[in-house]
């Protein structure tokens, strides 16, 4: 009923291979993007922009990067926070040390630096796998945490290790209001998501997935594991690095290494696991789950308490928030170990067959 596909015929390979093969999906996504660009800036207030939507967009981008590595290439990483930090600090250094450097250029160069660092820290993946690799990537986290805290050159000799940048500009557009920042991040996210979707559908993405599913078999059919794994590390770190640069320069404006701590790495990995490994949409679901849900719970609980005439203290709210959040993670992992993205696609399949799903 919702997906009536009667009369839709694919008459060319092109139409069969497009990203959203079903017109309903295509229109819905287009409408969503248009709404995100036009509707949300008209409707939403500053709080939602600064506290929820901008962090959500940037962390979605980072989760997308982690998903390429973990979900598509099967290389577990616990160093995502470090690559975010590399992106942020590299972008900062490009911006202040090269006069006349445009902000967008600095952000992209920050991403490229992170990609280079990602290749270096991806080298162990050629020899170790699975949990062992996760532990090896932890080295990246600890190394860069240490470097940005101790090596003064990276932070331009700041006394406390924290750095700050001025409002960034894109050509003549000074990005300083929350709406500007939101649109800027959204633009980057849309372009990068499209790139990611096409990468994973293409030859390189198939190589990654072959490596993920069984690397010996992949080698036998002629896929070079070194090339496939290191490109996955590079592309993933590029995404994560750009997200880190945005997090520092657009969202925070002034940051310290603690903004990219080990907690951040775990957070990104959980986003991918809960959202859905090996699904682009999963990155968005995961980011929404991790970013928005705690804040939502934190705001809802006092209201719920108010309904029953209870004065809820902030300490209690915070405890209950953590408990419910933890319980929901367990619930989702039991109900659908493949993540929210799988729930979504199952739901969609059912809608296509509705009213007689089987």
């Amino acid at each position: 009923m919702f997906y009536r596909e009667n009369g839709q015929f694919k008459t060319s390979y092109k139409s069969d291979q497009q990203i959203f093969a079903i017109p309903q999906d295509r229109w819905a996504i287009l409408a969503l993007i248009v709404f995100a660009f036009v509707g949300i800036p008209l409707l939403v207030d500053e709080y939602l922009f600064r506290a929820i939507l901008i962090p959500f967009l940037i962390l979605s981008l980072a989760a997308l990067g982690v998903n390429i590595l973990v979900g598509y290439c099967g290389q577990i990483t616990l160093g995502a926070g470090a690559f975010m930090a590399v992106g942020a600090y590299a972008a900062y250094n490009f911006l202040i040390r090269i006069s006349g450097m445009p902000a967008l250029g600095a952000i992209l160069l920050g991403g490229l630096t992170a990609a280079a660092v990602g290749i270096v820290f991806g080298i162990p993946s050629l020899r170790v796998r699975g949990l062992y690799l996760a532990v090896a990537t932890l080295a990246a986290q600890f190394f860069w945490d240490w470097a940005f805290l101790r090596v003064k050159w990276f932070t331009n000799d700041s006394s406390s290790g924290s750095v700050s940048v001025a409002d960034i500009e894109l050509f003549d557009w000074t990005i300083n209001t929350p709406t500007d920042k939101y649109l800027f991040c959204l633009g980057i996210l849309v372009i990068f998501s499209l790139m990611a979707k096409n990468l994973v559908r293409g030859s390189i993405g198939r190589q990654w997935m072959a490596i993920r599913d069984m690397d010996v078999a992949a080698t036998v059919i002629g896929i070079r594991p070194m090339y496939a794994k290191l490109t996955a590390f590079a592309v993933s770190s590029f995404y994560v690095g750009v997200a880190g640069a945005l997090w520092g320069m657009v969202h925070l404006g002034s940051w310290e290494p603690a903004a990219f701590s080990l907690d951040r790495s775990f957070q990104l990995l959980f986003m991918v696991i809960i959202g859905g490994m090996g699904a682009i949409a999963g990155s968005f679901f995961g980011a929404a789950f991790i970013v928005i849900l705690p804040i939502f719970l934190n705001q809802m609980l006092p209201l719920v308490g108010g309904l029953f005439g209870l004065e809820v203290s902030i300490a209690l709210v915070s405890h209950v928030e953590i408990m419910i959040f933890g319980a929901l993670i367990v619930f989702f992992l039991i109900v659908e170990p493949h993540g929210i993205a799988r729930l979504w696609s199952t739901g969609r399949e059912k809608l296509r067959l509705w009213p007689f799903p089987h």
């Binding site: 409408a31 409707l43 939602l48 506290a51 805290l149 006394s159 310290e256 902030i314």
Partner: protein, 453 residues
């Protein structure tokens, strides 16, 4: 196709409804209480009552809220009542920023905000000039924000970490018998590895260069319960003094480790955030002899204002937190932080109209023109608790005084005279660091003319 479009439209409407509902709620919250003349002043309270730093965060918040309750019981500020709302940050920067964004627009707009976290202060420093809400960081925050010309909206009232570290160096120099005696000495700084803990490093290194003492830096990772390696290093290098820049559980862990390694507690000096009851209580006798800075006040259970709080707030069952903690060090810190912001409102009302609601911008003027002389302090019940404070547009710290107090196993006792930071050392550092910040942010420092506005 028709149905699909319909489905799309429904999805869009649903989404927009979902997104606008919270916005509408926020709008509704902004609207009320415009009519009456004496609209209450709203203060967000960014507290942390959970997590590793709760033992220290909670008493601060209790004192902070109790003083606002007391002010309301005293009849407000020239009749203007105070209003506040707590939000739990857990000492995490991103949650703190979220709390700030959530609360800043409520009830006509926040008058001032006090984050009680150096990390959150760094983040809010970027937002305050846009939102025009002063950020008060009494005794913490970034030290260079003392320069009001560059940091127009930051108020590290009554003390910065550079000033605190300077006072500690002065104190040990006095103990040793002069600054020249510091030559060749070794001071270890055990610090929380965050912007907070790193603040004093610049000053200690500067002082170290001046007097020829060596500074050994020993970072401790959040939350600070794992310090075995740190204290092993101290046992090996045997520093002459240990300065402690810790917070929350890290403080008591440090003192316990000092006890375990046999480092004399008499040679340990904490900053004012490492010198309160929760830090030493559990160690008890083991902490005997441990020293810490007292930013103006120490534990003041006999102060007049504390008696008033007990009588007008706690006796009526309105108290925040346990009654036994009223008057303790961190409770007093919260109380004084609240008092300074209340006096900021009063100063602003003095210029913009008594009994009127003040905006964030007017509040800034008020905070820049705080003039609490001894008479005013006595009237507020702070006699003997703190010394007079005067701020100006260019000096956002104001007159800063500190003492050293020592734990005797049961309570804190003052063991030194009053000190002040050495302006000859501090001023150039503040100017240099703030000029660098202005350059990075492409800011134009305020001129004395701007200050008059």
């Amino acid at each position: 196709m028709h149905i699909s479009k319909l489905a799309g439209a429904i999805a869009v409407i649903g989404l927009s409804a979902a997104l606008t509902a919270p916005a509408a709620l926020a709008q509704a919250a902004k609207a009320p209480a415009k009519a009456a003349a004496a609209q209450p002043q709203f203060f967000p309270v960014l507290a942390y009552r959970t997590g590793a730093y709760a033992p220290n965060g909670a008493p601060w918040a209790n004192g902070f809220v109790d003083y606002m309750k007391l002010t309301n019981a005293r009849g407000g500020v020239n009749g203007v009542q105070l209003l506040w709302e707590e939000c739990e940050t857990g000492y995490a920067t991103d949650r703190g920023v979220e709390c700030y964004e959530r609360l800043k627009g409520k009830h006509g707009g926040a008058t001032a905000v006090q984050p009680l976290s150096t990390g959150i202060t760094f983040a809010l420093t970027e937002k305050a000039p846009v939102d025009k809400i002063p950020v008060i960081t009494a005794g913490y925050g970034r030290s260079e924000s003392q320069n009001g010309a560059v940091f127009g909206w930051n108020f590290p009232l009554v003390g910065t970490y550079w000033m605190g570290a300077d006072v500690l160096v002065q104190h040990i120099a006095k103990k040793e018998g002069g600054f020249d005696k510091l030559k060749g000495k070794k001071i270890a700084l055990v610090y929380h590895d965050s912007p907070y803990g790193k603040e004093p490093i610049a000053l200690l290194q500067e002082r170290g260069k001046m007097h020829g003492f060596e500074v050994q830096l020993l970072p401790v990772a959040h939350p600070g319960v794992e310090q075995k390696a740190t204290w092993l290093q101290i046992r090996q290098s045997k520093p002459d003094y240990v300065f402690l820049w810790g917070w929350g559980v890290m403080n008591s862990t440090s003192i316990k480790e000092a006890q375990a390694t046999g480092y004399p507690r008499e040679k340990m000096y904490g900053v004012w955030w490492s010198g309160a009851e929760p830090d030493v209580k559990d160690v008890g006798d083991g902490a005997k002899g441990y020293n810490a800075l007292a930013m103006q006040h120490g534990a003041e259970p006999n102060a007049k204002v504390i008696k008033e709080v007990l009588e007008k707030v706690h006796a009526k069952g309105q108290g925040t937190g346990p009654k036994e903690e009223v008057g303790q060090v961190l409770y007093m810190r919260g109380l004084i932080s609240a008092m300074l912001q209340v006096e900021g409102v009063r100063a602003a009302q003095g210029r913009y109209g008594k009994g009127k609601w003040v905006t964030g911008e007017q509040m800034r003027w008020g905070l820049e023109n705080i003039n609490l002389d001894q008479k005013a302090l006595d009237a507020l019940g702070f006699a003997g608790v703190m010394r007079p404070v005067q701020t100006s547009c260019l000096d956002h710290m104001g007159s800063a005084w500190a003492r050293v107090h020592t734990w005797d196993g049961k309570k804190w006792n003052f063991t030194s005279d009053w000190y002040q930071g050495d302006e000859k050392v501090l001023r150039p550092m503040v100017m240099l660091a703030s000029a660098k910040y202005a350059e990075e942010k492409k800011l134009k420092p305020r001129t004395p003319e701007d200050c008059k506005k």
